[in-house]
């Protein structure tokens, strides 16, 4: 569904196309019908089309309240203790190669707990915790 939406009042007069300062509206007449086209990158959301439309057909609110488009989906590595999502395998690879180290799959809290558990004498009340 496009961001630029018109209601049933649109009669294809092309006043919006003529008035668009960004040339973000266009049309194609083909096979006996007219298709109105909108270019979201060029659109400045200036509202000139909405002002000029003699049919009040443009539902400008759809340009103002945007929907979210999916860009990319990546698998995630999770904390091996609590399952909190951490990073993608590619991200881990980047961190490991940049820092020249290996990363254990632990969230900040469990990374800290694990680090503290290595030196139980530094935290008198703390028993060594098993993270297995």
């Amino acid at each position: 569904m496009s961001y630029f939406r018109v209601n049933e009042n649109c009669n294809g007069c092309l006043a919006c196309v003529e008035s668009c300062p960004s040339c973000a509206l266009s049309f194609i007449d083909q096979d006996g019908s007219r298709t109105l086209k909108h270019n979201m990158t060029k659109c400045a959301r200036c509202g000139q089309c909405w002002r000029v439309c003699p049919q009040a057909a443009i539902e400008f609110r759809h340009l103002l309240v945007a929907r979210w488009d999916e860009v990319i989906t990546l698998d995630l590595i999770q904390c091996r203790v609590c399952g909190e999502p951490l990073y993608s395998p590619a991200y881990r690879q980047k961190v490991e190669s940049t820092l020249d180290t290996t990363q254990e799959a632990l969230c900040p809290k469990h990374r800290q707990t694990r680090a503290a558990s290595m030196w139980p004498h530094s935290l008198p009340g703390m028993a060594r915790q098993s993270l297995k």
Partner: protein, 238 residues
Amino acid sequence: MIVGDLKPIEEIVSMIKGYTQVLILGCGSCVTVCLSGGEREAEQLGRELARIRHYQSAAPKFIVDSILRQCERDLVIEYQNIPAGTDALLSLACGAGVQTLADAFEPLPVIPALNTTFLGASDKAGIWTEKCKGCGDCILINTGGICPIARCAKSLFNGPCGGSKEGYCEVGKYAPCAWAQIVARLKKMNKLHLYEKIHSPKNWKPGGAAGPRKRVRTGLGEGNSIKLKEGPLLIGDS
């Protein structure tokens, strides 16, 4: 938003004469919205400038293009293609865009096609009026949302001058008296006591009196490495 007006065609012609290939570059942001320098205006300008009646010898070759924003140097360098053989750019952006292009593509000359005029807003379709002078120390809380710096011809801080007549400024009936508007607004808001508050002379450093201003946002790119104390213009900087 930034508002500008296209320069007279004769002035533009006089600036581009002598070049062989000119890239006309529209800007897709503020100047598009005020219908001065967008893609459509760039194309119209290209058609007008190509007319041989403007020239005694050969007209330059014109290539017309447009970019969403001309004021981001790294984006412009990365994404704006300058066709081979171009010996000048004619920019329809505001002054910020023109200068960004000049910095990005030096020593290629960048010619301004617009006169950048003011920071304004559109109260009615097709009409943009000046609202803000970018003084860097906003007092709109005290004036009911009407700026005396931008909208009073004298930028007075404590009420109208003796030239205010019937709600208009002495410069002409095209200019409402900002202080008449402010008082009317404060009355509607039941905040006339703000009118009686005396404002002392303004420190204009945040407004540009100490040189070009800068905004540095730490944590982004080079914002991290710039020392905040260098240069003027954080509010309250002395």
